[in-house]
């Protein structure tokens, strides 16, 4: 075991190296490029055995990744933002092939307007395709999640690909001390991939992804994927336990931060949850019982777990770093839906923040808490609110003025 300062991207690459991945088809996109550059170096200098191949697009990249996985290799690839969307139709194909590849998505907001900074509309656009989704907060969690994801994806009860998500810039380029597990120990945890369900070879002809005509056939296969995805919850629990015993780090399907006695719960994901935890600390200092629930395994969504955590609380604020245009926060809609039939449910408020990397300040956390307490006391629940500070608004007005556009 070694301890090194690694960026989130480098941590992802280390996870791939330790997972002894055979094949990486790649296409560059900011802020993900460091992952594939690192892997390219390791394949070319012989550190990793197998093949790194530069593809002509993300659409081709993911097709090659899925096809190689269907042939029996352990496969990795990575993308971000528009790249994920360019590969979008292939996400559904690959998930339908039931192949256990792992893909990292480094979250970046979507055009237009084009930007480089993160939010989660990219990864959440892929939430319904059949890939499992794990959203990470720290560089260590990125490395560990990549390794755990192969074990999860390759489990017979699951056999679905996995997307590991990390925030662009906030995590992709942040260096943190990371423990790099011993390769031999990882090998014990994650043995070589030996597909017993499907692989292309001469003595066992196989037709994969073939057409179905008849909705009842299609429905059967889609529901099988749904059930397999749900299986991943208990399989994750087993894997997390084994991982903890070997490496001393424990990952739940969600992270519970100071929730034991919490009356109010902030729900967040990814790196901004770190800011949320800092806010929880400050609120606790002034005697306010606040905790944080961090969504980690987003697909399958651990519905029962979240219900158990939220019931009997006074108020919950879902802080979405995404926006479903014409609706509002995506996580808010999911949390609200899973609580709708629960007795003793808290009031649930919806906030949008962090779009395109927009920061979130303590003042904004204070507003979130004030609104939530107020709503729990009065029953007046405000609609979805975009968090935006006075300073930001003043700056934005200035930019519009420079651009010669009316200020609305």
């Amino acid at each position: 075991m070694a301890r090194e300062l690694l960026t989130g991207n480098a941590a992802a690459a280390w996870g791939v190296r330790l997972a002894d991945v055979d094949y990486v088809p790649a296409f560059p996109i900011t802020p993900q490029t460091e992952i594939i550059e690192t892997l390219s170096g390791w394949y070319s200098d012989g550190t990793m055995k197998g093949k790194f191949v530069t593809m002509d697009s993300e659409h081709s990249m993911l097709t090659a990744a899925g096809a190689a996985s269907a042939t029996g290799a352990r496969v990795f690839t990575a993308t971000s933002s528009q790249g994920l969307l360019y590969a979008f139709e292939v996400l559904y194909s690959v998930a339908g092939w039931r192949v256990p590849l792992v893909m990292v998505n480094v979250s970046r907001a979507l055009s237009s307007p084009i930007t480089l900074e993160p939010d989660h509309n990219d990864i959440l656009s892929a939430r319904d395709c059949g890939f499992l989704q794990i959203h990470t907060e720290t560089c260590q969690e990125v490395l560990d999640s990549v390794i755990m994801s192969y074990k999860l994806a390759e489990d017979r009860r699951v056999l679905l690909p996995v997307l590991v998500n990390l925030d662009g810039y906030y995590l992709s380029f942040t260096r943190e001390p990371v423990e790099i597990p011993d390769a031999d120990k990882v090998k014990d945890f994650l043995p070589q991939y030996k597909p017993d369900h499907a692989s292309f070879h001469a003595s066992g002809p196989m037709a994969q992804g073939l057409a179905v005509l008849g909705g009842y056939i299609y429905s059967y296969f889609k529901y099988q994927m749904h059930l397999a995805s749900l299986n991943a919850l208990s399989v994750h629990e087993e894997i997390a336990e084994e991982f903890y015993n070997l490496f001393g780090r424990k990952y739940g399907v969600v992270e519970e931060y100071k929730l034991d006695d919490a009356e109010y719960v902030l729900i967040m994901s990814n790196t901004f949850a770190t800011k949320g935890k800092a806010a929880v600390e400050k609120f606790r200092e002034i005697g306010c019982k606040v905790g944080l629930l961090r969504l980690r395994v987003v697909r399958p969504l651990p519905t029962k777990k979240i219900q158990d955590i939220l019931k009997n609380r006074k108020g919950t604020a879902v802080i979405d770093q995404n926006i479903s245009i014409g609706y509002g926060g995506i996580f808010y809609s999911e949390i609200a839906a899973l609580m709708c039939n629960e007795a003793n449910k808290p009031v649930i408020l919806s906030f949008i923040c962090g779009l395109g990397g927009k920061d979130i300040s303590m003042k904004e956390f204070q507003k979130i808490l004030d609104d939530t307490i107020n709503a729990s006391l009065t029953g007046n629940i405000p609609g979805t609110q975009l968090l935006y500070t006075d300073v930001e608004w003043a700056k934005m007005k200035h930019l519009l003025d420079v651009a010669g556009k009316p200020v609305i």
Partner: protein, 313 residues
Amino acid sequence: MQSDHTAYKRIKDISRDEFILPGTTVCAGCGGLEALRLAHKVLGNNVVFVNAAGCFTLLALFPYSPFKGSWLYTNMASAPAGAQGIRDALDILIEKKRLRPEEDLKVIVLAGDGSTYDMALSATSGAIYRNLDFYYFCYDNEAYGNTGMQMSSASPLGAKTTTSIPDEQSPMGTKFHKKDIFEIWRAHKPPYIATISPRHPVDLSEKFRRSMQFKGPKLFIALSPCPTGWLYDPSHSAKIARLAVETGIWALKEAVFGETIHTYIPSKLKPVEEYLSVQGRFSHLFVPVRQDETIKKIQDEINYYWNHTEIQK
């Protein structure tokens, strides 16, 4: 690496074994399927088809497949990338001794002209650029056949399709010229490119045999007479395939590392009218008013090709 098959000189040199079982879901008289049937006899059993969405996607319909080999359906724009993944994975697994060399497969993209000429052109260019060792079989029926015959960039000048219906603005129907996919591939300098026709089975078989000695991208563009789209009786497929070659509109040729030779040169070209007049998709060129100008334009282009192409045999 020399293929151990015998050279194909006569029809009886072609194997009598069948590799595609009868009773498939494609249309009666499908010229593309006949070309594939013949090709498969040369390629043998150990193949994996990587299929782009198109007519042939319906060949493998759960829970049936007419193939003795393997099959992977991919998206319309990325079958060559699917071939890349399978080829690379087979190579890696054999190299790492996780797969015995005798388990290896020939990787064959199976795509229509819509995918080949249009949507997958980028992925194809990438695969050739990377010198991927694969076969690309394009069944070219000159339109988006599976969706009901809309114009593709393989649709020839003067053809009627459901998105280039002859009208006052464009009485000739398709007013664009068919993309020259042979030359687009040739510009990439792959080891082997050929055009084939189901009516020339010996030529077709010999081309597949020859191609097998090359490692790298190998393209076969199969003329695929299409009764439902070209609007003729299914029993006429062979006749129409023959006329395409005899009128010179479908040149049988191959290019080895960019050097083109014609493998069959009709001694005297038949007038293209003989080919056009037996298909409903060109009927508007003859009735109610004969469009001499368009027919001449098509004929002139064929003449130009055969007069200006360096013809070698």
